[in-house]
């Protein structure tokens, strides 16, 4: 059955999810590569958790306006707004105070998520608030994905990928040596903001498939795995995208073979397996290769 799944033979919904996950994985891998190169790997965690208050607020607003509270575009808009606000808060905290970036990330992550949780309890108390739609954004829920939703996701992933490719070289230069890039006239701050915007977009797109808690995994793991295969920036970004796409595709395919296999966690675990293989077996930079090289060297000469 797994081969059917990998061959996209398990039906309409499964195919939608699998292709959507592959697209998401590619966009996340590429964006994550830029983040990791710039040493901002865990920013994706803050962004992911910061979507929750926006989701809940969007639901409440739409319900108050008499609309369907679970309409995906509205929810995505709300999620993007609060995620962008969270990213902005991380930036302000890290730049204007003496706090290191990891503290800023942790603070925004927990405070925004806490606000989201509070709003979630408001939603749950509403008579119309069967917030199953919202809670599914925590870990993703791909059962019964609509064609519109899949197309939205695919389109978003496509846009993100194009933007990343267009800005790629600027991003690599400013990641490697920001001081030099700034002196050479590159708008380093603007480029950082662009990468952050891409991360927000990837997060929002990924809500339905892998959920906000796990999206950071797709931003980090493929890029970290790609490190073992490539030492040139351009290649690293490409390999990260490929690993992300593969993880999305294979993970989604596996999860469609049985009911109790949630897509998000399985995609993440497949990506992790890819990372483990890369860390151990990559030529030159993998652990096995390094151990073999060390063992093959002559022992240090004894002092005469």
């Amino acid at each position: 059955m797994i081969w059917q799944a990998l061959g996209l033979g398990l039906g309409y919904n499964a195919t939608l999810v699998t292709l959507g996950a592959a697209g998401l994985g590619f966009a996340a891998g590429v964006t994550g590569a830029f983040l990791v190169l710039r040493g901002r790997a865990l920013l994706g965690d803050a962004i992911g958790h910061a979507t929750l208050p926006g989701l809940a607020a969007a639901f409440l607003v739409m319900v108050a306006l008499g609309l369907d509270g679970r309409a995906l575009p509205g929810l995505m808009l709300g999620a993007a707004a609060s995620a962008a606000l969270g990213a902005w808060a991380v930036d302000r905290l890290a730049r204007l105070t003496r706090l290191p970036e990891d503290a800023a990330i942790g603070a925004v992550l927990s405070a925004f998520f806490g606000a989201g949780v509070v709003l979630l309890t408001v939603v749950q108390a509403l008579p119309t608030g069967r917030a199953a739609g919202l809670e599914s954004m925590l870990l993703g829920a791909t059962a019964g994905m609509l064609r519109n939703e899949a197309l939205t996701i695919a389109a978003g992933a496509g846009v993100v990928t194009l933007a990343a490719l267009a800005l790629g070289r600027s991003m690599l230069w400013s990641a490697f040596d920001p001081a030099f890039a700034r002196a050479a006239g590159l708008p380093v701050a603007g480029i950082d903001r662009a990468v952050t915007a891409l991360a927000v977009a990837v997060t929002v797109i990924g809500l339905k498939i892998v959920g906000l808690v796990l999206i950071v995994a797709l931003l980090i793991i493929p890029a970290a795995a790609a490190r073992f295969w490539a030492d040139r920036g351009g290649w690293l970004v490409a390999v990260a995208g490929a690993i992300g796409a593969a993880a999305g595709y294979v993970g989604a395919a596996i999860s469609s073979t049985a009911p109790a296999l949630p897509t998000g966690p399985i995609v993440v675990l497949v990506a992790t397996a890819g990372f483990a293989v890369s860390m151990l077996a990559a030529p030159r930079r993998g652990m096995l290769a390094r151990a073999l090289r060390r063992g093959a060297e002559p022992a240090p000469r004894a002092a005469p």
Partner: protein
Amino acid sequence: MTAAGEFLGFTLVPMLIGTLAAVACAVPGVFLLLRREALLGDAISHAVLPGIVVAFLLTGRIATIPMLLGAAGAAVVAVLLIQFLIRAGRVEPGAAMGIVFTAMFAAGVLLLERSDTSGVHLDVEHALMGSLESLVWLEARGWSSLADPAALSGLPAELGRMALAAAAVALLAALAWRALVIATFDAGFAAVLGLPVAAIGLGLTLAAALAAVAAFDAVGSILVIAMFVCPPAAARLMTERLGPMLGWTLGFAVLAAVLGFVLAGYAPLWLGFPAALSAAGMIAVVSGAILGLAALVGPARRRAAA
């Protein structure tokens, strides 16, 4: 039940539990912040899930001790895996943390889904937000219940557990203070003095992990993460000295716990809203707001001008 009994049983006890959890996490959080390991709470919160689920699967029921052991075991595994990735795999520390905790959390969710049987199931939401509001002391009739052994036996177990955890953390901090300060500020100097720098770091990590694990059941992971980061970070912006920084941290942690709890319980009433809000969530929000204020007006908020 008298008004005093209601206050004691429905407000004071859960608020106390929340406050103890806040303090138990904020104290190690001070050193985690200084060592640039502020996201350890985040990592541990996610990584413990598979441990809890495994304990549940092995024992077949939701019981505290096995789940605490499972969580502790998972936390230790996570810490060791992260160290392995950093040292042997040469992975950057932030990425290493992210990889390990997301993979473990994903594994936990998967196990959870596969084990959803016989109507007893663990709730991911509960793991995230805890159930502080429900940790009440029903047997409280009034202040006299404090001296009544029969009534005292109905105290929620989380109270004793958190008191123990907070006391253990305070004791460890007092004993290891100077060694921690030297090893954190200048690891090279500490090594030349003969201090076991790596062991000190690992000890701090494990102590933080155990505080987090003890607190999870009561307050959920979101509060744990908030308490590891927000009060110490806010305190850092208030003073240039370590001793006062600890004082501010404790003050902010207690303030966030009390104010957050009160707001979660009473703000809806004041606003005419039917249900209470999540106490853990509100405490996290308040601690973030305190940090936000400190970032705007704290006397020590600016980077040192070299």
